[in-house]
């Protein structure tokens, strides 16, 4: 069976300064549908770089990337935008909601770019997603009126708007207290059980514990994979 995500010999080299930085130094990995993967490792080990490339937010220096059977490397910026819009959802450490914009409008945004739903259907789906993340009554609140945990839940609802098969999250609990972190991870677990593939970066073991598979990185190399170890 073909993998949902498959990268081969992936390199990302930053040529800044005297010495080029090998943020990714020949990484190969494949992820199947429905997996809940945690990418772990020390700060500066290349976790975010890997996630950004997997999420088509960044382009690798070298290497191949098959996403859902299609080759991603070498695609135009416009094609990558369409892929992100339809297939991928993102959750960031600092939430990245549009300021001074209501929660409901933030959640609706991905479909504005996709244009799949009409105005009414879009509003209905956004409301339903907000309910699902536990913010049913907060649709009209702007980010400034929401706590960090609530903002992250709005961001998750937004990531789910276009029903993407994959969700990427870079340190989603990095700016949150323990209680909010647990709520967010419970939500992730729920989504994972519903069949959504999740790839999450974290350096905290108790957060990584929610995942079903753990990739550990060091200096741009993949040094441990408990799925590979299990094999």
């Amino acid at each position: 069976m073909a993998h949902l995500i498959e990268i081969r010999d992936m390199y990302k080299i930053y040529a800044q300064g005297d010495e080029p930085v090998h943020a990714l130094d020949g990484v190969s990995v494949s992820i199947d549908e429905g997996e809940f993967v945690a990418i772990m490792g020390a700060s500066g080990s290349g976790k975010s770089t890997m996630l950004n490339i997997l999420g088509c937010l960044d382009t690798p220096t070298k290497g191949t990337y098959l996403l859902d059977g299609i080759e991603v490397a070498g695609r135009s910026r416009t094609e990558l935008a369409h892929i992100r819009n339809e297939k991928l959802g993102f959750v960031f450490q600092n939430f990245n909601l549009l300021p001074r914009t209501s929660a409901i409008e933030n959640v609706e945004l991905p479909d504005l770019y996709l244009g799949r739903l009409g105005r009414r259907a879009r509003r209905r789906r956004a409301l339903e997603l907000l309910r699902r993340v536990g913010l049913g009554g907060r649709g009209t609140h702007t980010p400034a009126q929401l706590s960090g945990g609530q903002q992250q839940r709005v961001a998750i609802a937004r990531a789910l708007m276009n029903k993407p098969p994959v969700l990427f999250a870079d340190e989603p609990t990095g700016n949150l207290d323990t209680k909010s972190s647990i709520e967010i991870m419970n939500l992730f677990t729920e989504l994972s059980r519903a069949g959504i593939t999740i790839v999450m970066v974290t350096h905290e073991d108790d957060i990584a514990a929610y995942a079903t598979r753990h990739l550990v990185m060091k200096d741009g190399h993949l040094v441990s994979d408990d799925k590979g170890a299990a094999k």
């Binding site: 937010l57 960044d58 910026r77 416009t78 992100r84 819009n85 993102f90 001074r100 914009t101 937004r158």
Partner: protein, 408 residues
């Protein structure tokens, strides 16, 4: 995503950032309004001057005697003593095909009296042609007639300012007033002309036959006049008329070939040209001021836009991350800038015209709004608004989404 959708996103973004949108608009509004107001007032002022100068007289040519005497300081126009009323009569007779009206002018500054009221003003000794030359009309009574002019009768007409100062509520026509302690009969009151360009009250005047003024008021042995006022049938004949006038006066004044003219002609086209160069200079100055205000407005827009670049680039990064293509981003920002510029531009034009008209109404200046200046101001401000509104988006569209999200 349809263009309409992108337009809606752009309008939402404008409303989301009310302060920034307002400040950008203000830059455009002030830039455009300043230029339009300044140019409208400037153009209006020069139009008014031209109008007033042509109102000075109909096809007016003035001839002044010039004092030519070695070792004596030049006294300026009208200072000579070599021009007489006979010169005027000769010109009128010989150039009857060119000159419609002709009037000598003798000025005397005199003390006026009526009952217990005193007033000092200039008494102009002129001929019966004078009202036709200078567009004076009668409010009450009549102008003096040819017989009175011939006989040097002690009659006069007075301007409204003199009438109110000497007669108050009284009816002046038919009354006797004293000029230099001599009794004059008031036969008419002139219609008001108001102040001229230089602020002189044109209604503060007394007119009497030049014969009377030179005989009894000046008491001069010479029959010299201060100037002559001529009105041509047609300004197209100006050059010919000036040539003929020069020939006649040189002959009458017995000037040899080697001698310079002892008189000088002036006409309204000449004055118009002088004023034209003054208003031309004024227009240049005003345009510079306008350009500076446009520049200041433009810099204001630039500032606001550049300050918001960080926030906007993060916004762009996020929009791209969730699926906006570079084209959508560019279109959104272009539409935002266009909407802001258009709204600011329309308000700016309206405000500029409003300010110009308010100032015009206050100062009684006419206002001339030229489409050209509006288009220029609109174009420049819109360019600045669009360029700096669009610029961060253009730059960001060349970046990876993640570089935008990480932009500091």
């Amino acid at each position: 995503m349809s263009l309409w959708m992108i337009f809606k996103v752009a309008v939402l973004a404008i409303f989301r950032n009310k302060t920034r949108s307002l400040l950008t608009c203000l830059g455009i509004i002030f830039g455009i309004a300043a230029v339009i107001a300044v140019l409208a007032i400037g153009k209006g002022a020069s139009a008014m001057m031209v109008a007033e100068i042509s109102q000075m007289g109909n096809n007016l040519v003035m001839v002044f005697p010039e004092r030519k005497q070695a070792g004596v300081v030049h006294q300026g126009l009208g200072g000579g003593q070599n021009m007489t009323a006979e010169d005027v009569i000769a010109i009128k007779n010989e150039l009857s095909h060119l000159v419609q009206f002709a009037s000598p002018q003798v000025n005397a500054f005199c003390q006026l009296m009526h009952q217990n009221k005193n007033w000092s003003t200039r008494v102009q000794g002129v001929s019966v042609d004078f009202p036709d030359i200078k567009n004076w009309t009668m409010k009450e009574g009549r102008f003096f007639n040819e017989q009175e002019e011939r006989r040097a009768s002690r009659v006069c007409v007075i301007g409204t300012s003199v009438a109110s100062n000497l007669f108050g509520e009284e009816e002046p026509v038919g009354k006797t007033m004293r000029i230099k302690n001599m009794a004059f009969k008031v036969v008419g009151v002139l219609n008001s002309k108001g102040a001229n360009n230089w602020g002189d009250d044109q209604d503060d005047t007394v007119m009497a036959p030049y014969t009377t003024v030179s005989r009894v008021l000046q008491g001069s042995a010479f029959k010299s006049i201060n100037m002559m006022n001529l009105s041509l049938y047609d300004m197209d004949d100006l050059d010919e008329a000036k040539r003929e006038i020069t020939a006649i006066l040189r002959q009458r004044h017995k000037l040899a070939d080697y001698q310079d003219d002892d008189f000088e002609t002036r006409d309204t086209t000449e004055i118009m040209n002088t004023i034209g160069s003054v208003t031309g200079l004024m227009t240049v100055l005003l345009t510079v001021v306008a350009a500076i205000s446009l520049l200041v407005g433009g810099i204001g827009i630039m500032n606001i836009m550049l300050v918001s670049v960080t926030e906007r680039i993060k916004e762009i990064g996020l929009r791209m991350a969730i699926g906006a293509t570079p084209f959508m981003i560019l279109t959104q920002f272009l539409l935002e800038a266009l909407v802001l510029s258009a709204v600011g531009g329309v308000i700016g034009v309206a405000a500029g015209i409003g300010v110009a008209q308010a100032i015009g109404a206050m100062k009684h200046w006419p206002i001339v709004v030229e489409a050209g200046s509006a288009i220029l101001a609109f174009g420049f401000s819109a360019f600045v608004g669009i360029f700096f509104g669009f610029y961060p988006a253009y730059r960001a569209s060349k970046l990876n989404p993640i570089d935008c999200l990480r932009y500091e």
